[in-house]
Chain length 156, copies 2
């Protein structure tokens, strides 16, 4: 698995294949300046180095943790500084952790209500559908809109 042989450059979608990242996504990251533009072959094809792969993997792992691309941009900037400013990086993480917890709380509230209606609906033979009645009648508890930056689940 680990590259013991020297890999000079990855071509023909090898970067995408090695990392599991969609090739269009890689180009998108490049376009928005998250990844550096790689050198090109004479024909114009991108020739990535292991440096590119390393950086892409960083982005992918950060995405898996739900960081937004802007947060990742900031983390990459911090990662490149000589003396790593751990304080700033961990602030980014702590803020994001709070976002994640808020989302979990919101989703759990939804889950509770949904679980109830699904149970009440049962086999679907109710004359009045509990789900529809709930939506028409009950003022479901509203959480204050947190207005957080994105940073979504990887499965979105």
């Amino acid at each position: 698995m680990s590259g013991h042989a020297a890999v000079k450059s990855l071509q023909r979608g090898e970067l995408a294949e090695r990392t599991g990242c969609n090739i269009e996504t890689v180009r998108y990251y490049e376009k928005i300046g998250l990844l550096p533009e790689p050198p090109r072959t004479s024909g114009g094809h991108r020739a990535y180095s292991s440096t590119h792969e390393r950086r892409l993997r960083f982005v992918m792992r950060a995405r898996e943790l739900g960081f937004s691309l802007e947060e990742i941009r900031e983390l990459l900037r911090l990662a490149e500084e000589r003396d790593r400013p751990c304080a700033e990086a961990s602030t980014v993480a702590a803020t994001h952790l709070q976002d994640v917890r808020t989302k979990i709380a919101d989703l759990k509230r939804m889950e509770g209500v949904l679980k109830n209606v699904v149970v009440q609906c049962g086999d679907g033979t109710q004359p009045e559908c509990p789900l529809i009645e709930t939506l028409f009648r009950e003022p479901t508890a509203r959480s204050a809109k947190p207005r957080t930056k994105s940073a979504r689940s990887p499965g979105d």
Copy 2:
């Protein structure tokens, strides 16, 4: 506060004010056909009735439960049928419940990792930042991408 007098039509943003829904959002729902177009005054202003308010509240409550607009469209369709097809409605809810649970699981995984790195970073005086090292080194456990339809938390 509560409308004990007959309200014939709501104007001057009264619908938005009464429901707490942004007026631009109401018009967006109208445009995509989720809400019916209300009659207009001679000058072209929308004149909503309590029927519109009821339907809008339905949409808002469903959004609070994380249903997508397409799911809500379906639920509204079911709500209008003579004999309420509870079975179909509860299937929509059950599917959505599964989506919600998947998202909770994803977010909890993120929360666990983030909690750890924040603790490891501590007061930010580490020479090597644990967060950045984690992103460069560890292959964070990847969950299979569930490829679910949207339906996001209300705070997004």
